[in-house]
């Protein structure tokens, strides 16, 4: 299967999708852990994909989003950023409004 097709399938699998290193239960990198913790803190339903499980997706994703690092967060198919941007929005108290504006359920 064409890697871009697989990437899009993953992105379409949920309203919020987190490409990460490892899993939410066992993050394998500090930046991925930060992203997971923020999404868990806001109690947002999200799908995650462990890029260590598929090297083609890991490399293909960099071209797909023109973003060289992991994690990568997608909301309703739109690339939102990596851990730094998610953390900055969270710390500036912009994230809750952002998700609500996108029609994403937050149950704090």
């Amino acid at each position: 299967m064409d890697v871009n097709k697989k990437i899009e399938e993953i992105i379409n699998s949920s309203e919020v999708v987190l490409f990460m290193k490892g899993t939410p239960e066992m993050p394998q990198c500090g930046f991925s852990m930060v992203a997971v913790n923020i999404l868990k803190h806001l109690k947002i339903n999200f799908n995650s994909f462990d890029v260590y499980s598929d090297e083609n997706v890991r490399q293909g994703l960099k071209k797909y989003s023109n973003w060289p690092t992991i994690p990568q967060i997608y909301v309703k198919k739109e690339f939102i950023g990596g851990s730094d941007i998610l953390k900055e929005m969270f710390e500036k108290k912009e994230l809750t409004k952002f998700f609500l504006d996108k029609g994403i359920q937050i149950n704090k």
């Binding site: 060289p68 690092t69 950023g81 990596g82 730094d84 941007i85 900055e88 929005m89």
Partner: protein, 76 residues
Amino acid sequence: MAIKQSELETLLKNAFPNSVIEIKDLAGDDNHFSAKICSSLFKGKNKVEQHKMVYKALKGKMDTELHALSISTEEK
């Protein structure tokens, strides 16, 4: 994977002249840095675009030579 802090600084200074650039070595292994950049070049750009400008400045070294870079950008 590793890159000297001085090289990282040069790459960022070349891409962001007349800007405030603060680099911190997070682990002492030439592989984990943070970079805070305050530049007028970010004006009118959203966060993703600003961070992409920083990655572009690294000329392909991000995630190939440099393992981790925590980025913070600000418009001047």
